[in-house]
Amino acid sequence: MQGFASEFNHALSLILNGDAELWAIVLLSLQVSIFAVLISAVIGMPVGAALAVARFPGRRALIILVNALMGFPPVVVGLLVYLMLSRSGPLGVLELLYTPTAMIIAQVVLVTPIMAALTRQVIEMLAEEYSEQLRSLGVSRLASVPVLLWDARLALVTALLAGFGRAIAEVGAVIIVGGNINHVTRVMTTTIALETSKGNLALALALGVILIGLAITVNAMVSALTLRAEREGLRHA
């Protein structure tokens, strides 16, 4: 481990001095994960709200399925997306494998169940509380969905941040479908994996520090939101 401290200092100075290559990697990570989380929200939140509000046969089974999908191993997701996007797969003609789009797709598959499950939970609790009042006001079940989504907005932003945390920290899926190609699909986690395999533990750790910094930022945002919610009495009982 001799020289570790100096190597680590070197890595930190790369970060602090805004090393262009390093920040390009960080930026790509953010772009891919933010995009993926937004798409997941657009798909997952209405699905979650529908599961919370609608009543149809098979609803319970669907909820169990969505909850189970939350724990889907990223490597398996990566493999499935790879098989879809491979030139010998059904979507091969789209030529998406080894592009940032492929990584976004993999992260969407990973994060959408989280969005749907958390949304379902939040909306179901709120719907229970609002149900009689909204019916009394003549709001139909369908029309109640946007009301519930809006009133659950703080909890949903929390869900969004949780999804982002999962997406940005994920390595197994994006390394398979992205290929960890330099300047094209190399993100923070795949760089960490690569530098670790090169034995450059200090640089890997320095990138880890950025990831932890992001995680802390995200969690600080969540806790600030929660605090605000408590102050305003917006907390769901």
Binding site: Y130, E132, S136, G138, D151, A152, R231, E232, G233
Partner: protein
């Protein structure tokens, strides 16, 4: 429909109403007719079926048997749109005080400028002026219930149902709400209010429905029911005895 001649809400009539759960009769009302301007107070101990009856009148619960009619017509969506209800614990949207009122006004497709004026008038009516921008869920218990009543009044209902709106409030908060209820009544809104507080019934009621164990045991003019109750159950309840 509002009665064209008198300007008062029409006759609300219940016939052969019954609700059973797990073989237990929760509500059994062969006949009840609310034809006065009110306020009508539904009085009785906990578990008497007061809230259940109120929900049937508002169409929130479909009875197992029987029906609710307004002016001889089975309660329909038009009737329900002219009713409003205030619940025991106010369910306020997680928005500002003004936005809670705006929510129902918007649903009536009221233009923005009118909505603004109406909200100001309502807030003044409920003594909530200056709280328009405050998050509704940060209001005190009394303020929250007043906002819930204002929101119900924003619908300009013919009939306003209130389910023990003051049961969790202190006397001064209760007094403010009772005044709001009386003012609404004076403007011609028919009030149907559930309470187990005999004093409240005495202060507000024009007529009283006494309930006991899922049955209406007595319905009549407040003075008469309170001072010369006909049924034993009423007598015992009004005497302050524990009716079980």
């Amino acid at each position: 429909m509002r009665d064209v001649v008198t300007g008062t809400p029409g006759i609300l009539e219940v016939s052969n109403l019954s609700i059973t759960r797990d073989g237990k009769t929760l509500l059994e009302v062969p006949h009840l007719c609310l034809d006065g301007p009110g306020p009508t107070l539904i009085l009785g101990p906990n578990g008497a079926g007061k809230s259940l009856l109120l929900r049937c009148l508002h169409g929130l619960i479909q009875p197992d048997r029987g029906r609710v009619c307004q002016n001889g017509v089975v309660l329909n969506a038009d009737h329900k749109a002219r009713q409003a209800m205030v619940f025991q614990s106010p369910v306020l949207l997680r928005r500002s005080v003004a936005a809670n009122l705006d929510f129902v006004l918007k649903r009536q497709s009221m233009p923005r400028i009118l909505r603004k004026q109406r909200i100001d008038a309502l807030l003044a009516e409920g003594g909530l002026d200056g709280k328009a921008g405050q998050p509704a869920r940060s209001l005190s218990g009394g303020e929250a219930q007043r906002l819930a009543i204002l929101r119900a009044l924003a619908l300009e209902p013919e009939t306003l149902f209130l389910d023990e709106p003051t049961s969790a409030l202190d006397p001064s908060a209760t007094q403010m709400i009772e005044r709001m209820v009386l003012r609404a009544s004076a403007r011609g809104v028919r009030i149907v209010m559930v309470t187990h507080d005999i004093g409240q019934a005495r202060r507000l009621a024009s007529d009283i429905v006494m309930m006991q164990a899922g049955h209406v045991v007595e319905h009549g003019i407040a003075q008469k029911v309170l001072n010369e109750p006909e049924s034993d159950d009423s007598r015992r309840y009004l005497a302050g005895g524990l009716v079980t």
